[in-house]
Amino acid sequence: MEQDPVYSPNKNVDKKYTALAHKYPHLHQPFFKRPDISRRRFFQLAGAGVSGSYLAGRALAASSVDTNQGMATKNTAKNVIFVLLTGAISAWDSFDLKVINGATPAAMNAATINGISWPMGTMPKLGAQLDKLALVRSMSAHALVHTLAQTWSQIGRNPAAALGNIAPNIGSVIAIEKDPLRTPGQVFPAFIALNSPSGAGGGYLPATYAPFRVTQPSGTTNAGIPDTTNKNGQTLFNTMYSRLHQLDDPLRLNSPYGQPLTDYNDFYSQAHGMMYNPTVNTAFGFTAADSVRYGSSSFGNACLVAKQVLAANQGTRFIQISYGSWDFHQDIYGTINPKGSNMFTMSPALDNGVSTLLSDLQSTGLLDETLVVMLGEFGRTPGALTGAGGRDHYVLQTAVFAGAGVKGGKVIGATSSDGKNITDFGFAGSGTTGPRNVWPEDVEATIYSAMGIDWTTIRHDDPFNRGFEYVPFASQGTYGPIHELWA
């Protein structure tokens, strides 16, 4: 054993720097102005015990622990539907169609609709609803590794960076931000992730704001959420539930073993509220007729459920839907294997699901208050196909927006005819950056702005006491919303 090093600061402290530090307070302020105030400790002080809990979450949301730059938000959306096209869809064969001689099949049926190039062969129904869509064709990914970039899209920051592994999904941020608007009797989780079993989670935020994950069957009927009914039937369940309380209330209400056990009972109350609840079954179940309208696919069913969940108005604010895989390194057009997975076999579910979702949202008036965002984690190589008849990874892609006041029938930004470069950003940029391409962080800022959330907000409850900035570097103007969507 060597001599134990006890590390102590150099007494010759840099006075100049200290003076500077006093003059300019930093952004890493612990929110209680006292050392050692970890998140966990905050929960203790909040009287909720050491485990994050439903009650702790409420206390957290209600307390003023944020700072921001006072940005003007759009505040046009109450809800968000976030569609992640995993595997990275080829923009050149979808939202930024390029007709490449010798590559693009005639069956793509390239058309120009109100000046917008569109593949009527694969997405005819969306093509008929271009008046609702805004296409941002100047978007670029930072990285070209699937898991990394998918997570990046969902948390709006680099997963490999300092706060990457504690960063919440955008949906969790919205869930905690909008928690004060929740009204008594609303029984749905604020953030529902459909068909996203391994998507980004709630990060360091309490579990109340983590995604509630439900995967839709590919069949055309569904009764609702798993485990919201009991195999013994409702009557017997009610008996069991009352027996439980009869037996356990001395331990679960004002528990002698501490607050966490009492908090745990709150989740039982919430879960019980979702059981045998016609609202749950109406929102999460569906009939064959509706499923067929949405394309009779798992993805279509998820779109259907998303619409129904929002229509139920039960407190859900953010719905993520994942659909993939679009990772066509080989045989992207099904030239070799037409029945395999390719643009022609994958696109119809997307076309049917999203087009019906948009028209249903519009007919119910929900589209005006729901921002729909659709993108992949990155794009695919432009021009001629690879030797394997596919397209490899590339940064340029197109992000699709609709609803919540976004002007439809619009294209923002443009790429060169060969797809290799951006020729027009169409985006004024953020802060002092000037016009530039759109990054995932800008999409994140756009979502927050639409929801009336200041994207420069910094929470001071993160476990590093570092300050968790909703959009990284946004307070410096590095990233910001795409205001052009509303212009």
């Binding site: 600061p9 150099n10 200290t18 307070p25 960063a167 798993p226 476990p463 307070s475």
Partner: protein, 673 residues
């Protein structure tokens, strides 16, 4: 609202690319060796395109002017000040009026004054703060707690009875000694160490160990625990190992987790040392320092970090700079890793692309250990030097015992447990307020610094014996305090440890408690990769699941937040899904069916006339008592018994089922209290 910012750092947005490192290297004299580095960088998909990021301009030379003179100064020998030692009066504690304990308190062991290191610090600290300790655990509370904490399984009724009926004075330590090192203990702590070492098949940074690598690493951890390998030896092996196949040489997989794509090879060294510093030194803030100096960033967080520069952090990364982590394609979409010290050149500056801000400067950085500034001996392998320095650093022992402490006590003595501040640990040399920037943490960081040091010293003296450390903790009176508390509990005093803080069972523990108590064990397997196993605690990782990514068992386990050993840590939170699962999932419902062979069927076959019989001591009585003892490891209280009996009179079979279902949904089932 702070519009003025000194600079935000991060790394966060900076990412950027690779693009073949087409940087100016024409006049670089070591171009040939850059080629080697480039090859190393290409371990994953190297199809990145160049992009730039405006935030990079934040990391210019102006930030460097604050660096000068910030080297750490080593102080003298750490002395573990024992301080005033107030005798712990167990009898005084026992004299308190105790809240009723389910299971009854009639067989409490007599508590006794303790010579345990932990007790010598905890109880004086409680007295000094005027905080009363909770009463000691009853034997019933103790037996369930210690089985769960050490082995992850609830005791069988026979195990419970054996302990309760034992009349010897040292029966608690006897039980502890029999559990530590047992096969179930190996299962549980293999998972614990796998969490600590982040052993998974796929992480958000794009690194894939594949299930073959995961099972190999899992096997290494398991065998290390089985042989009670000293912790410093395990750390040294993990840090220094070389090998050509991560699928067959488990310990290779630790550093593989630091492989980062989309950047120069320095990004990999940085991530590998960041992981290592967090795992073995509790210094997760090194990750921050690998992007920027502490000043202007860590001022309000970490005093050591405030005085530490990015350049010093590079000195740590440089210990990895001779190490190449390279992927070998085994078959389509299946790659193993080699880990070999084939490099000759130290950590190069001048990178302008990748996952971290540009490494401003020229030349190379040689390895320098960040706590004390030691350098490798002439000719010494860099990683061997790193392992030697780390494992002989007292901080290595402190970080280890604190991680283990956090598990057993729910809150670390330093918390968060991976954010140590080395300048705020010595009770004999507390931070000088003159050295602390305004508003910075300037008090000792550990809630009980002397305890942490004494515990770490014991760990060192035991030759880093993990089993001995656990025995020391679990045999302390402090650990054996009840989670029941007399009077009003002040949550802000939690870190004085005057009360056991409850812990929601891990996913695996909930699953295994249901399956073992019901007598219906499942069998899980995954082709030739792993299995068959009968306990969730034997699964190699969360991402490789018994019944697929969206299977019922997988969803049940995920609902209890077992995490993914990457960006989703294991969490103690509750959730709606947990409650829905315990109330309605087939894992529970299939096991409360009266017809199914197992606990309920056996119990129903008992004479109805004896339903209300409660066994003597730890022995089982009739139906109600049997269900309670099997599921909750205790007898029913009088109220619980009379309630259950009244219900059973109406429809015995149905009400027995209702009772068993209720037991699985009781809070004292899902929590370790």
């Amino acid at each position: 609202m702070g519009k003025r910012r000194l600079a935000m750092a991060g790394g966060a947005a900076a990412m950027l690319l690779v693009a073949g490192l087409a940087i100016t290297r024409a006049q670089d004299p070591v171009t040939a060796d850059r080629a080697q580095e480039r090859a190393q960088a290409r371990v994953e998909e190297a199809t990145q395109m160049p992009v730039s990021d405006p935030s990079c301009t934040f990391f210019g030379p102006e930030r460097e002017r604050f660096v000068a003179g910030s080297n750490a100064r080593s102080q003298g020998q750490l002395t573990a000040s024992v301080g005033a030692q107030l005798a712990y009066s167990a009898r005084a504690v026992a004299a308190n009026v105790m809240p009723s304990a389910p299971g009854g308190s009639r067989t409490d062991s007599l508590d006794h004054p303790s010579s345990n290191t932990i007790d010598r610090y905890i109880f004086p600290a409680l007295s000094a703060a005027g905080v009363a300790a909770a009463p000691p655990t009853t034997d019933w509370e103790f037996v369930r707690r210690v089985y769960l904490d050490l082995t992850g399984r609830i005791p069988t009724p026979a195990q419970t009875a054996a302990f309760i009926n034992d009349t010897s004075m040292n029966k608690r330590s006897t039980l502890v000694n029999s559990l530590v090192g047992s096969p179930a203990w190996v299962d549980k702590w293999t998972v614990w160490f796998s969490d600590l070492y982040q052993n998974n098949s796929d992480n958000a940074a794009g690194t894939r160990r594949f299930i073959q690598g995961v099972t190999a690493f899992n096997g290494y951890i398991r065998s290390s625990l089985q042989s009670n390998k000293p912790y410093n030896q395990m750390a040294s092996e993990i840090i220094t190992t070389q090998g050509t196949d991560s699928f067959t040489q488990g310990e290779v997989n630790y550093l593989v987790g630091g492989v980062v794509s989309g950047g120069p090879v320095q990004d990999i060294y940085d991530q590998q040392i960041a992981n290592t510093a967090s795992t073995f030194l509790g210094l997760s803030n090194l990750n921050c320092l690998l992007c920027h100096d502490g000043r202007g960033h860590l001022d309000q967080i970490n005093l050591w970090g405030y005085y530490t520069s990015r350049k010093q952090a590079w000195g740590m990364s440089s210990f990895l700079s001779h190490t190449a982590t390279a992927a070998t394609t085994v078959s389509a979409n299946l790659r193993s890793f080699s880990l070999q010290d084939t490099g000759k050149l130290d950590y190069a500056l001048g990178s302008t692309t990748g996952n971290r801000p540009p490494r401003t400067g020229t030349g190379r950085v040689s390895p320098v250990y960040i706590l004390g500034n030691a350098k490798p001996a002439t000719g010494e392998n860099y990683r061997a030097a790193l392992a030697r320095m780390m494992t002989s650093d007292f901080q290595f022992a402190r970080a280890a015992v604190n991680y283990v402490w956090e598990y057993f006590f729910t809150v670390g003595i330093v918390s968060p447990s991976n954010q140590f501040d080395p300048y705020r640990l010595d009770p004999n040399n507390p931070p000088d307020p003159a050295m602390c920037p305004m508003g910075a943490p300037c008090t000792l960081q550990p809630s009980n610094a002397a305890l942490l040091n004494a515990l770490a010293q014991d760990f060192v003296n035991s030759n880093y014996d993990v089993q001995a450390l656990m025995k020391e903790i679990v045999n302390s009176n402090a650990y054996q305090l009840s989670s029941r508390y007399n009077g009003t509990w002040d949550p802000s005093t939690a870190s004085l440890f005057g009360r056991k803080l409850v812990r929601r069972l891990w996913s695996e523990e909930v699953h295994d408690a249901i399956t073992t108590s019901s007598g219906q064990l499942p069998t899980y397997t995954s082709g030739t990769n792993w299995g068959p196993v009968n306990y969730a605690m034997q699964l190699p990782e969360p991402l490789n699941t018994p019944d697929g990514g969206n299977g019922a068992v997988n969803n049940f386990l995920n609902a209890f937040l077992r995490g993914n050993r990457d960006d989703q840590p294991r969490k103690p939170d509750g959730s709606i899904s947990q409650s829905l699962g315990l109330m309605n999932d087939s894992l529970v419902m299939n096991r409360i069916a009266p017809a199914a062979a197992g606990l309920l069927k056996t119990t129903l076959a008992m004479p109805a006339a004896q339903d209300g019989v409660v066994g003597q001591g730890g022995n089982m009585g009739g139906l109600v008592d049997t269900l309670f003892l099997t599921v909750l490891s205790r007898h029913p209280t009088d109220t619980e018994l009379s309630t259950a009996l009244a219900n059973l009179k109406t429809n015995r079979t149905q009400e027995a089922q209702n009772l068993l279902w209720s037991l699985y949904n009781k809070v004292d089932f899902v929590f370790n209290y």
